[in-house]
């Protein structure tokens, strides 16, 4: 393996200036990446260009398309509703990360060792990921109904609160349901990550007298660095564009009031309910820029792209 894939070195600045001529292996690589690149171009880049063009146009989805210049952009950027939606989106991102990461890590650590009971739990935990977001949304909406939901169960009356109906609680309730849906996926990532850590590390640490907590903090966590980067990036960018569950839980309106109207939902309502495609495209472009910036930032800050080995000398 090491013969085929040279480990990129930390001091790789020299390669920046002298790119080696394309080798046979590289052209093979291009050939293998071609289907993915083609699909990505067709279904991601082409629509992206269309959306940017549409953000400069006036179109109600019915009549002819007219030139709007920067009107959509000034409209979007000066509208307080856009900034409120952006703030809610940032809140969803940050709180989702704070809630999901520790829970997923704990669940992943629990599922990693082999065992029949653990496998059973793993299957149960994994279950929410198999359901569609709409099914999850409708189920939770029914469960959280204060009159006929779980709050109506004897002994659980303290749950008979308007969780989705209170402007203060609705966003956190939505974040909870999102976590319920996605924690299993991230737990799976961590489980796989933990299983890859060589047992020799733990054995050596145990011989040196390290307890379970120390082993977790000193071995498991550092070894999971890249899993954590992957999981965090997916979580952050995923919640930036997250839409369907919030749409269903809020009855398609981002309510109560505008308490759960995140940026993707605001984009949808502008485009498909108010039929202002130009303005919706401006919001969409904003989302793309934010998403790209965010994933670039996470990969840069974490050194993900350098992909240093965590196990040098093993």
């Amino acid at each position: 393996m090491t013969a085929l894939v040279p480990t990129p070195t930390r001091t790789s600045t020299s390669t920046r200036t002298s790119t080696p001529p394309p080798t046979r292996r590289q052209s093979h690589g291009l050939l293998m990446a071609a289907p993915a690149l083609l699909l990505f171009g067709l279904f991601a880049l082409v629509p992206l260009v269309g959306v940017v063009a549409l953000s400069l146009a006036r179109w109600d989805g019915l009549g002819s398309v007219g030139w709007a210049g920067g009107a959509n952009w000034t409209g979007v950027l000066t509208d307080g509703a856009t900034w409120q939606a952006l703030w809610l989106t940032v809140k969803v991102m940050a709180v989702s990360w704070l809630v999901q990461t520790p829970v997923a890590l704990a669940l992943g650590a629990f599922q990693a060792p082999r065992g029949r009971l653990r496998a059973l739990f793993a299957v149960l935990f994994f279950f929410p990921l198999l359901l569609s977001a709409v099914a999850i949304g409708l189920t939770w909406q029914a469960l959280l109904d204060p009159s006929f939901g779980i709050g109506a169960t004897p002994g659980l009356h303290w749950l008979a609160e308007p969780l989705l109906g209170s402007p203060d609680l609705a966003l956190y309730t939505v974040i909870f349901v999102i976590a319920w849906q996605f924690v299993p996926f991230h737990a799976l990532l961590y489980q796989a990550g933990i299983r890859q850590i060589p047992t020799a590390l733990y054995e050596a640490a145990a011989l040196d007298g390290a307890g379970p907590a120390t082993r977790f903090w000193r071995i498991t966590l550092p070894q999971l660095k890249y899993t954590m980067v992957t999981s965090s990036t997916l979580m952050l960018v995923g919640s930036l564009t997250y839409f369907d569950l919030i749409f269903v839980l809020s009855g398609g309106t981002g309510g109560p009031g505008t308490a759960t109207r995140v940026l993707p939902l605001a984009m949808y309502i502008t485009g498909f309910q108010a039929h202002d495609m130009g303005r919706a495209s401006a919001v969409a472009t904003l989302l793309v820029v934010l998403g790209l910036g965010l994933s670039l930032l996470t990969t840069r800050l974490s050194g993900f792209a350098r992909m240093d080995s965590q196990q040098e000398g093993m």
């Binding site: 009549g63 409708l138 369907d244 790209l292 670039l296």
Partner: protein, 441 residues
């Protein structure tokens, strides 16, 4: 064991980082995205296509009847869910793939299509418009021309009540707003929700505002707004209507949980028929929902209904009604089968057997001269109900289409959002008018 390389060789680090982040972004997006399938209309050369909502089972019978009589040029009917439908139709018209005949709510949304030149006007001779209730036809009349044929039952909004609950609390069905407030106070003491409201869906809250504005300011206020004069939102009567709504809310009329209740889950209906709530303001379709979910309530004669309470000092007639006059079927201007479509609209929509089918389902179609048919209904509870709805509409000087349908579609969302904010008392009664006039200009 090495880390997983993303690119095969040591390329430019910056570029590699970009590739890595693009891949991650794409993965994240595909994780969050959900698939949608485009419409796949199978258009035969001679046949027609028609789109409607999936709850229109009686309307489907009229298509079946047409197809039986015209086996070589059948109508292909496609039925959709409510929210999907509005968007699908819009996109289909934008892409020139719209059906020959389409279903709508009339009002501002239909007018969008009319103004874009997508809908054909229908003449009296073509579809025999004289057989329909005139106040209903107004919702599909723009610039003096008719653009749609009513296709199902009248849906004014009425006040339903559970007789058992009112009796237990010693409350009479409210005739005026003050009665309503007094009833709310008494019912709260009985530990029931006075008025069941699905505020999570927002449009049920709007029904209150529609009635309260009509009662306090008269129908002229909203007529002016709908004609494009958005400054009229600042009329003092709009503020008063919002004040009345907030007073009801402050008095606890909707209980503590209304904003969590979503109409589609059926919880607001259930509150009424289980006796956890005393009253509900809702469209006439609710009768069929209750009949289906709680047939015993109807059998025992415990479901009451009456007109929305009056405001004695208001300028509007207490006989005015709001709601959905009817749904309409309209003709695509680009249709290649216009004569066949007109035959269907004239001879099959709301024909005799359709009228009977609607009456049997507890719904009054907007057709003139139904008295003899109503007298022939056998079920007493149905007869009482159908006569109530028929008389309510016949005696109403005005029938206001729901605001969210009457206004151009770009104002529907600000309207619903501001209504919800007013209900939640996040904005003052006066702020509703100011922000609506801003949204409409």
């Amino acid at each position: 064991m090495q880390g997983i390389p993303l690119t095969g060789s040591s390329g430019i680090p910056g570029a590699r980082r970009a590739v890595a982040s693009v891949v991650v972004l794409a993965a994240a997006m595909s994780l969050a995205a959900c698939g949608t399938s485009g419409p796949s209309t199978t258009e035969s050369a001679k046949g027609l296509t028609m789109w409607a909502l999936n709850d229109q089972t009686i309307l489907k019978d009229s298509v079946d009847a047409y197809n039986k009589d015209h086996p070589d040029a059948k109508i292909t009917l496609r039925l959709f869910a409510n929210d999907d439908y509005k968007q699908k139709l819009r996109v289909a018209f934008g892409a020139d793939q719209a059906p020959d005949i389409f279903f709508s709510w009339g009002g501002g949304a239909l007018n969008d299509y009319v103004e874009a030149g997508k809908v054909d006007a229908l003449t009296e001779a073509q579809v025999d418009t004289a057989r329909f209730t005139p106040s209903v036809m107004q919702s599909a009349t723009f610039g003096g021309e008719v653009y749609g044929v009513p296709a199902n039952g009248l849906a004014p909004v009425v006040l339903y009540y559970n007789k058992k609950v009112l009796k237990k609390a010693g409350v009479e069905p409210p005739k005026t707003y003050d009665d309503l407030l007094a009833a709310v106070r008494k019912l709260k003491g009985e530990d029931v929700v006075p008025l069941s409201l699905a505020a999570n869906s927002k449009w049920p809250t709007l029904m209150y505002l529609e009635y309260l504005l009509d009662r306090t300011g008269g129908s002229r206020v909203f007529t002016k707004i709908a004609s494009g004069d958005s400054a009229t939102w600042k009329d003092p009567s709009v503020t008063r209507a919002n004040q009345y709504l907030q007073d009801l809310s402050k008095a606890g009329a909707f209980g503590d949980n209304a904003s969590s209740v979503s109409y589609d889950q059926g919880a607001s209906t259930a509150l009424l028929y289980t006796g956890k709530a005393a009253m509900e303001v809702m469209g006439t379709w609710e009768y069929a929902n209750i009949a289906k979910a709680a047939p015993d309530l109807l059998k025992d004669g415990d479901l009451g209904y009456t007109a929305f309470p009056a405001l004695p000092d208001g300028a509007g007639s207490p006989k005015n009604i709001v709601g959905n006059p009817s749904n309409f079927l309209s003709l695509n201007a680009a249709s290649k089968n216009k004569s066949a479509a007109l035959t269907y609209l004239k001879d099959y929509v709301l024909d005799d057997s359709q009228v009977d089918a609607y009456l049997a389902a507890g719904s009054v179609p907007p057709v003139k001269g139904l008295e003899s048919k109503l007298a022939a209904v056998t079920s007493t509870s149905d007869k009482q109900w159908l006569t109530f709805v028929y008389d309510l509409v016949q005696n109403a000087p005005g029938f206001q289409l729901s605001w969210d349908q009457a206004l151009p579609s770009d104002q529907a969302d600000p309207l619903l959002t501001n209504t919800d904010k007013s209900f939640l008392r996040q904005i003052s009664p006066a702020e509703f008018g100011t922000s609506m006039s801003k949204a409409g200009s």
